[in-house]
Symmetry: D3
Subunit: 310 residues, 6 copies
């Protein structure tokens, strides 16, 4: 089972100029074949299906920790998409009946506006839904690790491409962080294969062949050492992955290690404003707030919501 | 972000007689339109896309807590499928080259054996992959809650049908638990709508019109009060849902409440044995164990793995 | 727009021995690429998209009349599936909680029981959903007619195969009727092409190369002349198709003609009994009846329902 | 079975400035998950699969009447798409070989031009085909009605969004009408649930929370009382739905009722002109007309086609 | 089995101004329902599944020869897409980290850049993947030929539309060639049906009703007689198709014949330059070349690569 | 472009006892994610999209040669499926109208009988169609090779599983051959990566961890040295792959090499008999033969067909 923490793994900027075409491209990192839903659900299913867990405990622990981190990546991409879509319909006078969505006709993914409330979708950059065929879970440990290394390589490719295509500050902050943390996973699976078989995949790094530290938005995270450590993403469990995740980083030679703290400190999300033109959270959002306040009062909650927002 | 606990939300029985045809049916509760992947990912995406969180905090918290519980349901269904498939290929002398899968030719979902390692898949009872079109996230709070109530109703239907179709002990333990906990979610969304709009959906219970307490495998969970409480599924966050989740249970009249403990105590999973005929975790599983033991030794870990298994 | 008549186009037998595996095969005629949903929706979309209707009126009228008949074919296949599934779960003591669906585990399409209420689905014989890619509507009249002739040829093939595979009386009654009426459509499109271009497709009949009158269940319909006439399926409209649909039948030499009556007399459907194990129409169907009776009373309706059933 | 009337349920404007990007958006109302194909086919399949029809006759009749109306909605959306695409390729000199489609490269749905003849497709606003997974037909009456209420709510959302996005006169006329008539269906299913279970859903209206009478294009239909009445859409059948469809409208308090006339008077469609650049109905449309005229002469039909066009 | 020749079937122009929106449209001819993957794989599967080959040898040979030619058509469309995408990202200074793909955000198929390396994909003009439902292989020779004639008719429609939409020189060269050679296949299947059944389909030509010789880019190929001959596409086999493929061409009256040479002379492809912004073949393409040169040296190969390029 | 040779790459046994359930499982090797259509089309698209061919010629040549061999593998799997289905419907008296398919109701893939003529389909073992999302063609050489190694690993897994599940002689002959030849491709891609980057993947062999020479049906091919050589599959082209494909085989230590002969000698296919119950090639196959003979006579062909059959 899992527990949720009401924080993002890293800080993302607040809404600025909306960029629906860019948000449509960023969706590839969410619902694409190599998007974060894929990394998340591949490793999650592999962990559910892991046989002989005690016999191969360090591998099981590694898989579980990485799987759990990926949820946070899905959350980050979703938040980025939402940030980029904020303001794409007029907020003040954008309420129907009007042509408040006329400005986005023919731009980006129409489901961002028609099906959703200017929010993220489990779709790729073409508007096609993520599907379960993107999950590989053979149960054969060597194969699953081989797959996972390949998957991370494809994911790194897509992150770099989206970086090049979308200049929106949220997209750049996102890809800067994901490239560093995805890089850790790419190394982790290669090292896991090495430890299991003796094969040496380290010369495949970096793949694609552009070093991560050339990306300006990656540098602060590298400086903070985020490219070297694996978080357990558990208060108490999954303590043995260090038996596999160790040795030199293939690009920098620094030592890989498992962090003592269970997870990165993280940062609260921005409380994204209503978009009444798409009824999110309502055509009349102020009514929702009023009702919620009454319910909170009645329940004896303090006036200020307990939530964690930027 | 999330943290993972290496336990199931409830205990499931160990492998007994394999039932691949039954496992194929149970997949509907995993990757079907109304399966646990759907409830999980619907509420998760809705939570990512929630605008005006502070303004509608009790609703956001309710959604996040339920979403987080659903991960555990996906884990339970996956574990059930794995349990039911264990032993479906011969374990001792079942290694290729032989006809060790001849006994399951034409039975159940062929991907359980050919694509997977006698493990769960993100597919439904027909072998079709789960896909993102099953996610509804309009951003409109009234609509999303209406959807969620409907989704839980469809999910309850499917759980009852699988209960009737599959007599394997793991499937019965699973559906007994899910019917009780899914029932809490069905009530939660109906009550949330009631609190938001004044509409009264309580007379729609039970839907389908068979009371949960008629199912023998539900009774122990009802006796333990699991039909009345919402867990926050967070150490510290999501503390306001009690402003919405309260009042009488529509079937029993007892008071609904938010649990003080963050999550159910849970139970460790069984360490399911290797199935060498399908190379899970290897054609020669003993080699994996030997390598893992060496790595554990080298890392200074104790002889006995730290993992949490039944 | 359309009006509905509460009758089937031909009589179908009442439920007898259930045949879920056969019902799964019959689904090909409903939701398969060449099933009745395809013929129905192909011609319907072509009729919506028909440009220069007045200029090519006889063609437009022909298309509309055939499209409208196809709805009735979809209804007939659905009714057949429902008839074949009736009784597949125990009726008297089949109510959950029990193993009332254990007898159909691994047999036929699991969605007939888990997703549906022992009812027809828009799926093919493999359980895959019908989809819009099966519709061809180029707007080019010669091409659309060429397509339609091919579609009817593929449909005839599938009907013959299902006839050979499924011996259930309802399936045989269904295919016997559909082969005759589908044959009229196959001829109609070939003749329409002939009238438009001068090409002679008549020697392509029969395709596949088994004459319809060799099928025993077709004979009564042929004897009744159903292989020769086109119904307008409209009280007043679509009166010009006779300008195209005329001349000799390619197999019998008899004259083709447009019927004076708007539609076949038809026959009422059987009122298929509840299947409480799958909650159709409820776990406790007698309650539905009781409520309905009260509503009918209150509305001043006579005791005996006005409906048209066999 | 059904009969077809060669009229639209309401008048739509003739072609004006083409709007292929808008037509692409309008497709959501046709082939989207909440489009008219979905409402149509959901209710149609539910009606085919309805068990115990006599016992629950008012519900069966309600379902059949609404299902039958939905065909007309599909026809209206298709006609709107066709109207908006008319003129998007040059008509006079637009015949190949030329670059007559160069002006629409990269605009809207490419299948409108490449696959189709500037005509409607069973696809959504992203160009993805409608599919049978959008149909819910559980056979459980309470569940099916719950679904239908939700489906109509989602459909209303999408209609409002398309209204806001597309200002083309045909799109506005379309959505104005559909919002009113779809609103009747939304109420009908909520009331049907209320009558069956006692649950009160009326406070969920309007959902989304913008009253229909704020939409200028809805007002004439409201003034004509179209928001209050259910048509039977049958000459003689489906006479009992008034036992369910009655009581006050949730927004206006006026009485709901079943119309005496079987269907709205309707209006003829415009005879949309050929688009020779896409070969609709031909590269040389005048040849088709010439042939049709000869066939009509030969058949003794009057010079003026009998068809019903605006 | 097959052998490959490192040449295109006809010459295509070198890269000029990139046209990503046009490349997206051209994809319909590759991965669309009527694209070259469909013609290729339909005939290939039909040839694999051909029963009684010796008994119907001329038909088998015809099918195999056409199937084999279609591979070359897929190659031509792919090459065209690649040519049109070349230069769409900056080549000299386009390497990441930069915004080298910002210029194509929102233009064409995003997978051309994010998933691929500015290269062709098995997708249609909407970015949807080709799938096996597009293959028809009934095994019934009359039906398969009827289908193939229809398929070629739809394919000709799509080629003409793409011709009209895309003015890029590579697209025009492509469609000019494909219209002529696809026209041969369209005639071949019609004639094959004629020889098998006596039906006369010749008056269906041309379909769509625009003669091929009106297309300027077709004229050189017609002048070279490419509209009349069938190539065997085999050094030694498939020698009997002339028993079926003969008689007059339906549009010109000239004699159809089987070429003596096994295949057209063809032309080498251009060696398309690297696109480092998308890592094709690498972020640092010069390193690949350096490595390849070393490997070639070590293997004793001459300095100049043996390859066949324009 | 390609040329076709009317031979299989290896001999397959003639039809024996039909095995439709086994044929359904074998389909995974045809249309599954890791089936031969996937290997074939992945490498083929990668070859079409290869930029800087001259600069990286040995890699291009390697890719083209392997791609071309894969066509032959698709042909072999298709032939195996056809062989296994032969006889599944009665041949002598199996003609409709009869229940000649009743014996296969509910067994295997229904499309083998209803949609096809007891022939292979582009579908997997679940009856789902192959689709273009299974193709990976990033253009980045390191990534594409990484993918291809992974793909071959997954393919080897599936071949081993099908071997274990299906004992039919044709399936065993097929998998015995494919395991050996697929093994060459698996090695080739690993070695290509090694030569390009210096990474050493050889210790990953065998994956899955069962040596190929333990499979009895592989032994004759290993004895013939088929596990060591790469065929160019071209009369004259693709001559440089030996610069990459060389060095020791990872399991046996023997030298890898490029064969001098362009392709294996191969073996003719059996001329599979008609299956009149499914109209392949006709309900009355003798008529087809008679017509073909007349056409052959008229064309002056010798009495005995020129074809190449076993």
């Amino acid at each position: 089972m899992i527990l949720r923490v009401d924080s993002l793994q890293t800080a993302l900027p607040p809404p600025s100029d909306p960029d629906p075409a860019g948000a449509s491209a960023v969706q590839e990192l969410l619902g694409g074949k190599f998007g974060e839903m894929s990394t998340w659900l591949n490793y999650t299913f592999q962990s559910f299906n892991f046989r002989s867990r005690q016999g191969a405990r360090p591998y099981y622990d590694l898989l579980c920790s990485i799987a759990t981190e990926e949820f946070g990546h899905v959350e980050l991409v979703s938040t980025t998409v939402n940030t980029m879509l904020t303001g794409a319909s007029p907020i003040d006078d954008g309420r129907a009946p009007a042509a408040s969505l006329a400005g986005v006709k023919g731009i980006g993914n129409p489901h961002h506006f028609i099906a959703g409330g200017q929010g993220a979708l489990p779709q790729n950059s073409q508007g096609r839904p993520w599907n379960g065929d993107y999950v590989f879970s053979s149960g054969d440990l060597v194969e699953d690790l081989t797959h996972n290394f390949f998957l991370e390589t494809g994911a790194r490719n897509n992150k770099l491409k989206v970086y090049e295509m979308v200049e929106h500050p949220a997209a750049r902050a996102l890809t800067g962080y994901l490239l560093v943390r995805g890089g850790v996973h790419q190394v982790a699976y290669a090292r896991a294969l090495e430890r299991l078989t003796g094969a040496d995949l380290m010369k495949l790094f970096p793949a694609p062949r552009i070093p991560t530290d050339k990306i300006p938005e990656c540098k602060p995270h590298i400086k903070a050492g985020e490219h070297l450590k694996l978080y357990r993403f558990s208060e108490k469990d999954f303590t043995e992955s260090g038996a596999v995740f160790n040795g030199p980083h293939p690009e920098t030679g620094e030592d890989l290690f498992v962090a003592e703290e269970p997870h990165p400190e993280g940062a609260p999300a921005h409380d994204l404003p209503p978009q009444p033109a798409v009824f999110a959270p309502s055509f009349a959002p102020e009514e929702i707030v009023e009702i919620a306040n009454k319910l909170r009062d009645k329940a004896g909650l303090p006036k200020r919501p307990a939530g964690n927002v930027a």
